[in-house]
């Protein structure tokens, strides 16, 4: 791994020591190889109207046009037209689309990884409905194959391959769960051979938010459900999904789901993590080639259902709150009502952010941006948007349902000495269960 700088002064990281041409070809082949009709339609449809810029937090907070979402795809758009599009032979014959150079890919690394959180707000702004976030994911796959990924993300990738999680070795998982149980005085189930519900985790719970591990245990125990954590398949955040490492994405997906099926579970509960929802709820079946005989739901959906069905009763807090919608959950996952229903059940009077639900601003740290320390300055710029909107609500609680959002927002608050605690919906529920 080496940190370098392009001729134009842009920092990039590079992995391995392959020749540049080999890297370039690997990136472009990976990008064009799996091209599906929907991606092609979207590659063909851009009007260059610039509307996507108005939706992107990184453009809006910096006014730097290079952060225009569609611009982040430029090398891959060029490669598409040269190698895949219906007129590709004509483009090549007439020399209308130059082959993408390694220098261009190096320069674009920061735009694809530092300046995109895969939040997909641009998709909602695009008059042609181009799903830019999905195309960025495809482009990240190309970058991963070229060994042009931020070192920090590549480190997490290697760690996940070795440990089964970017946060902790699988061998230590059961101990972490038991220690959390003892520390918080909550009975926990781990590695039970059979259970109806399998609970999964994201790195945030295994590092900064360990109370979440026992919060869900407390709720499940209260409901009298047959559940377990499992060392064989606990990691749901799926760094492969974020990095464009499709091989790892498939491996982690299969590991988690095969394990849940082996335990005989009918429901797999995903942690408070947005990308876990994208990777498991919407993409897992892609790797199986068929529907998976297992219900995969996000923690927030589980809480929403449990409250709605009356299986858990909550003590009313009786204060005011605002809610940050995690992008992968709300905008790209369609879960906007469940968290609001839970907040209501908690007796919290909700004041919505100016932009909320599907149209809310990203925390700024999604898509691996929060883990990519090189992106810190840009991430803090994006945070200012959220900070302004939260302050305008003048509420007592600032709640979200994603551990990565929570970490990003907490880091932002610390940076700006902003005296707001970012609270977890799960934690609020667990702390206010009626006896």
């Amino acid at each position: 791994m080496t940190a370098k700088t392009t001729a134009s002064g842009i920092a990039y990281d590079v992995q391995g020591d392959r020749p540049d041409v080999e890297r370039r070809d690997a990136a472009l082949q990976a990008f064009v190889r799996d091209f599906a009709a929907t991606a092609a339609i979207h590659m063909e449809s851009c009007l260059r109207c610039g509307m996507c810029a108005t939706a992107c937090q990184y453009y809006v907070t910096t006014a730097d046009p290079k952060y225009t979402p569609i611009n982040k795809l430029k090398p891959f758009e060029q490669a598409y037209h040269r190698h895949v599009g219906p007129f590709a032979p004509v483009y090549r014959f007439l020399g209308l689309s130059a082959n993408v150079g390694i220098d261009m890919l190096q320069e674009w690394e920061a735009l694809l990884f530092d300046a995109c959180s895969l939040c997909g707000r641009c998709t909602l702004a695009c008059p042609m409905g181009i799903d830019i976030a999905e195309l960025i994911k495809e482009a990240r796959h190309g970058m991963y194959m070229a060994g042009l990924v931020p070192d920090r993300l590549e480190l997490m990738d290697r760690t996940a391959k070795a440990w089964g999680s970017p946060a902790t070795p699988a061998d230590d998982f059961a101990d972490i769960i038991r220690e959390a149980g003892e520390a918080n005085h909550v009975p926990v189930n781990v590695d039970l051979p059979k259970a109806d519900y399998v609970i999964t985790t994201a790195p945030a719970e295994l590092t900064e938010h360990t109370k979440a591990l026992t919060d869900i245990a407390k709720i499940l125990n209260k409901m009298g459900l047959n559940w377990t954590y499992s060392s064989e398949g606990f990691e749901a955040s799926n760094i492969g999904y974020i990095n464009g490492d499709l091989e790892l994405q498939e491996k982690m997906t299969r590991k988690m789901i095969d394990n849940a099926l082996a335990i005989g579970a009918h429901t797999l509960i995903l942690p408070e993590c947005g990308h876990a929802y994208g990777a498991a709820r919407w993409e897992a079946a892609r790797w199986y080639g068929k529907e998976i005989p297992l219900r995969i739901i996000h923690m927030t959906e589980f809480l929403g259902e449990s409250v709605a069905s009356g299986k858990i009763k909550l003590k009313p807090i009786g204060e005011t709150a605002t809610f940050h919608d995690p992008c992968q959950l709300a905008r790209r996952g369609g879960v906007t009502e469940a968290p609001r229903a839970v907040l209501k059940a908690l007796g919290l009077e909700l004041t919505e952010l100016q932009d909320h639900g599907a149209l809310g601003w990203c925390c700024g740290g999604g898509g691996g941006v929060v883990s990519n320390v090189r992106a810190d300055p840009l991430r803090f710029k994006a945070f200012e948007l959220k900070k302004q909107q939260v302050e305008a609500t003048n509420t007592q609680h600032f709640v979200t349902a994603c551990g990565q959002c929570r970490i990003t927002l907490t880091l932002g608050a610390k940076k700006f000495k902003w005296d707001r605690k970012v609270e977890s919906l799960l934690e609020l529920v667990a702390d206010n269960l009626e006896d």
């Binding site: 063909e44 108005t54 046009p65 611009n71 599009g85 219906p86 199986y288 529907e291 369609g334």
Partner: protein, 219 residues
Amino acid sequence: MDLLAFARGPALTFALAVFVLGSLWRLIGILALPPWRDLSPAREGAPPDWLAALQGIFGKMIPHKTFLKGGMFAIVNGYVFHIGLAICVFAFAPHILFLKSLFGLSWPGLPNGLVFAVGALTAGSLLAALAYRLTSPVLKLISRGDDYVSWLLTFLPVITGLAAASHIGARYETLLALHVLSICAFLIWFPFGKLMHAVLFVFSRGATGIRFRHRGAQL
């Protein structure tokens, strides 16, 4: 063969052939790629794909309020010249007669004076769009040659049409020939550049409509 006969005859025939065959080639080239099959279980209450596609196609006609702040000009001006072009093409009596000669269908037109006024407004709107493209830092960065060629080939039929309708600048027959030739150029370029969005929007919006509504997500 005079210029008008050439324009109406071989030029238009050739242009229509390129337009039809080129558009089909491009569409087939895209749609023949393997589909991305979404095997995840749909959100409860999600509409069937055909309805989700329609929701995408029509829902995207109205931008979200939150995007108006930064994109008001592009949105409003876009509406003005698209509606203006539609009126000029489909509501001008001579165009209706021409289309009837091609397809055998006709419909009532609008008064010529009104269409002329709309044409002038459309030309102004297109000029404003060009000025915006040339001055906006975002658009300057992302624009390609296609954007300027497509703009020119949209503007020329409007401006030559206005000249022909008002008999300004040359003999009517010459102006009409130039108008028809400009339309030929438009048709020839259509399959190769972004003018094709007039067709692609159905597929682009529809695909996202299906993906998002499957998840129960807002478009």
